[in-house]
């Protein structure tokens, strides 16, 4: 039996803290959503900082909102992604680095200062049952997470792990604050086969005018407000929906579908954001402006490969 090496007790639950990993794959045909870290890029860097497997389970903290964790043992952890005003007792913690927490110290997340979702990685990854191949919690589907039933973090929960703290001495090869600041502006989209059914004026507007992130935004999808897009296709027969799909319902306002999206749906699509763009959108706060930029599939894949190569 392996023994628990570290633990964080949940003193106060924020609005939305979830156990995440890469998500569930090979199960979409069962109606099971992908789930997993909405900003996979920051999630992976969090694990990299600790020398973990890049897909080790970590905590995704959205908004912060008073989430408070108390350490039951001394540990080295890593924080990455959004700056949610994290404090270790009274000391402010910036994302993008490892830090040491002593038994009895409290880690609290206040409110978003830059970005929306922070990732807290622990040595070796969080302990949680594998459900359909993943530890990711998807509340809507009652799957995964600490108890296997999809629940978000609750007061009384204890996060544990079995890995030993390694001092990797790793430093991020970029400034995480800058990566958050840039996050919203340009979202690369690979145009899909249905793009020809949108009017020329709509396409010109879609790629030349700014879009504003609506407050109807969650892990399922993010609504964008802006020019009203027209598509000659009305409702369609439901078909599979990829990550980042930019679907346009009859009201002409796009919805970008993220990790917890429905597996099939019936609205026409402009295309799909690249994986990196989907991760960046997941860091955007309501009201933030974004722009869509069309990118060729080959170029998107080259950028994606470059992103992945940076972890080596």
């Amino acid at each position: 039996m392996s023994s628990v090496q570290g633990a964080l007790r949940v003193v106060q639950a924020g609005p939305l803290a979830l156990v995440v990993d890469d998500g569930r794959f090979g199960v979409r045909h069962l109606g099971v959503t992908q789930g997993g870290a909405a900003d996979w890029f920051s999630f992976r860097w969090a694990n990299w900082l600790l020398g973990n497997a890049l897909d080790a389970a970590a905590l995704e903290i959205a908004i912060g909102g008073g989430l408070e964790l108390e350490a039951e043992a001394d540990s080295t952890l890593a924080l990455m992604g959004a700056d949610l005003g994290a404090h270790l007792d009274d000391r402010a913690l910036k994302p993008g680095a490892t830090f040491t927490i002593r038994a009895g110290q409290r880690l609290v997340f206040r409110q978003p200062r830059n970005g929306l979702r922070a990732y807290l990685a622990v040595p070796g990854g969080l302990a949680a049952p594998l459900v359909l191949g993943s530890r990711s919690a998807t509340p809507r589907e009652q799957l995964g997470g600490l108890h296997g039933d999809g629940r978000t973090l609750q007061v009384g929960d204890t996060l544990t792990w079995q890995g030993r703290a390694a001092t990797t001495g790793r430093r991020l090869p970029f400034d995480p604050a800058i990566s958050m600041t840039l996050s919203g502006n340009w979202l690369a989209l690979v145009p899909g086969a249905q793009i020809g059914h949108f009017s020329g004026a709509s396409l010109s507007q879609a790629f030349n005018l700014p879009w504003r992130v609506d407050d109807r935004a969650d892990r399922m999808g993010v609504r964008l407000l802006g020019p009203q897009l027209h598509c000659e296709l009305g409702g369609m027969i439901s078909e599979g929906i990829p990550l980042g799909a930019v679907q346009v319902p009859p009201d002409g306002q796009p919805i970008v579908l993220l990790n917890d999206r429905q597996t099939i749906g019936g609205y026409p699509r402009l295309g799909a954001l690249t994986p990196l763009a989907a991760a960046r959108l997941a860091q955007c706060l309501p009201g933030q402006e974004v722009r869509l930029v069309a990118t060729a599939r080959e170029h998107a894949l080259r950028t994606h490969r470059r992103c992945l190569a940076a972890f080596l």
Binding site: F25, G26, H29, L143, A193, E239, I264, L301
Partner: protein, 234 residues
């Protein structure tokens, strides 16, 4: 069948086999599902069959776009429809009652028939499982006879109880777990769709057939059914 292969995302292709929902599609969809899984093996990330399409998410780090399209073309050239008679046939017991199926009256009024007749007709034919989606184990089935076809509720309910059996247009489905939804709810079943889906072994698969059977409240309770009334508030 004139298939098209469409770019859907950086590493996702849509294999479009048909333009309209038809029970006759199912043999082709089931066959294409099997053959595409074989053709991609471990390089397949996800394959999502639906009424007329199969969405194929492949590992773009290992398979090029051109290679993926080549594999799909070769599969389609050799495709023969599967014998859907070989799909499993399931009998799903349903307690049809206004307390758990408040739209029994809406469907009856639209059809100009009695509630009992709605139940008899809903149970009166085999439905194909067309697709799984929306929630783990949620099966889109059809086709419901035209007389019972009823559009979705204008305002979806925030909470539809697990096991609810609903109709939307000519489709019918069972809610595997409590979720929001806008279908016309006719009754409730204790058929354990979610429990099986969460283990990766769905009870219903595309190409299977389902026949609903009307049962009494007592039988429903014996099967472990929850008789709590469906909140009629949206």
């Amino acid at each position: 069948m004139s298939a098209q292969i469409e770019l859907t995302a950086m590493d996702v292709l849509m294999v479009r086999l048909f333009d309209a929902i038809d029970e006759a599609n199912m043999g082709w969809i089931v066959a294409a599902d099997r053959a595409l899984r074989d053709a991609f093996g471990a390089e397949l990330i996800d394959l999502v069959p639906s009424y007329t399409t199969l969405m194929l998410h492949y590992d773009a780090l290992r398979v090029s776009h051109d290679e993926a399209i080549g594999r799909i073309r070769r599969v389609l050239e050799r495709l023969e429809p599967a014998d859907t008679e070989l799909g499993q046939c399931h009998e799903v017991p349903v307690w049809y009652d206004l307390s758990v199926g408040p739209e029994l009256t809406r469907v009856a009024e639209r059809a100009g028939i009695a509630v009992d007749e709605v139940v008899r007709r809903h149970c009166g034919r085999d439905y194909y499982v067309f697709a799984l989606g929306f929630a783990p184990g949620y099966s889109f089935m059809g086709l419901v006879e035209e007389g019972l076809a009823t559009p979705r509720l204008k305002t979806p309910r925030r909470r539809v109880a697990a096991g609810s059996v609903g109709v939307a247009d000519r489709q019918t489905a069972i809610y595997p777990l409590t979720s929001p939804g806008g279908w016309n709810i006719l009754g409730r079943t204790a058929f354990p769709l979610f429990e099986h889906a969460r283990r990766g072994e769905p009870l219903l698969r595309p190409g299977d057939r389902v026949r609903f059977k009307s049962i009494s409240r007592e039988e429903f309770v014996q099967q472990g059914g929850d008789t709590t009334a469906l909140e009629s508030a949206s």
